[in-house]
Amino acid sequence: MAKLTKQERRTTIISAALKLFSEKGFYITTIPDIAKKVGMSVGNFYNYFTSKDILAKELIIYISEYLGKRIREINDKDISTEKKIYEIVSMYFNMAEERPEMIEYFLRVYLSNREVFEDGCEGMICVSAFVTEMMMFFDNGVERDELHNQDFFSAFGLFMGYLGGMVFLFGEKILPEPLEWYKESISQNIYNALKKR
């Protein structure tokens, strides 16, 4: 096996930690658990992240940048806002199916353990990449005269709260159909709720 670079090793830790945190919970998961899962010593682990809290913050930045990067790719496309909504929904649901730990982590760790994030990760700091792209999306939609001009958080909450709720239902295995099945109708609902009146 080829030797991993430091960056690759770091990504491995992030993936493993995301899985453990979202499965077992933030407080129950220990650093030795994570180190064990990636096959490294606890001592070596500290070369990458000096504490569990710092790791927790890095994870949320990682997710935010991951999402931000994908939404930006959609924002940069020359397609209608209605299409962009479909693409964002689609990307989000795909991610929920392929890498559920990312969204689980966001919902179950980041939103549920605010005390971990209140120093240095409050407000927009760690989720800036993601929120900024959503701002770019909304701004562009209004500028193109395709979305109704309203308060940012009213629109953002409607969009992301809806997606989060669906992914939660999916995670709880309540949804009778696979997420894929809902993409079209949910995109339509979001568009209808936000479109220019």
Binding site: I125, E133, M135, F138, F152
Partner: protein
Amino acid sequence: MHSKNDKKPSIIWFQGLTCNGNTHSFLNLENLENLLNKFEILSHPSLPSTQDFNSITECTLECDIFIFEGTYDPLMKRNDTSISKIVKYYAQKARYIIALGSCASFGGVFKASAPERNSGLLFNEQEKSGPLLKYESKVINISGCPIHPEWLAYTLSMIEKRREVETDSLHRPIELYSTLSHHGCTRNEYFEWKVDAGAFGEKEGCLYYKQGCRAPMTHAPCNKILWNEVSSKTRVGTPCFGCTEPDFPRKNLFSTKTNMSIPEDIPLGVPKRSYLTMAGIAKTFRIKRLEGKLIDYKTAD
């Protein structure tokens, strides 16, 4: 020394469609007399002049500097003479043409009285298509509604001292219009930390987020060369209306155009994505000192 160089440069100050605002603003110049002594005023709307107005409109005089104040309306007549004849005559004679104020520079407020034909001397809003295109190299635009007297004094003094007045792509002196009116605003700290003014009538808060302030998008030294030597719009809580720019007057001047709470226009030259990232993060930190009143006066009652 050549005797010709000893002669004071002569000025004709001529008006198109105007409110006289630049004339009156100029009268506020500190040490006005010292400046005037360096020039021969052939004609001015209110100051003593050596020529009467009839001889100006007869188009027989020469002048070094032709100052035009107001919007150019090709159908306008002054003293029964077509303004297009007068302007072209002096444009050809003069060494420098100063389009004084935003009306003369770009069309300004009075462009709207006949938008299909009114314009500035060289520009029609952003577009370089005014009547003095042929004399482009002579034209200096001093935009502003009104101009600050020192802006004109600077330009005239540079000409008098035979120093070159470097201009930007809109023919405005770079030394005046390179800075934004945001520069030097006493509310800058509120802008940095994204603390908006809750309402008008307060010393605290930035006017860019809600009250329509155009200062971060407007080229003008208003907070550097203070108005009447004492203040500026933003210092007294009035938003900058962007009066030095070709699109003045815009619409909805007292509110910021936002798309889903996001300012449509952001500080000049800053990519929107970068601005939003920075703004979102800055907003996260709630700075107590900037949220409260700067001074809490004890009320009498």
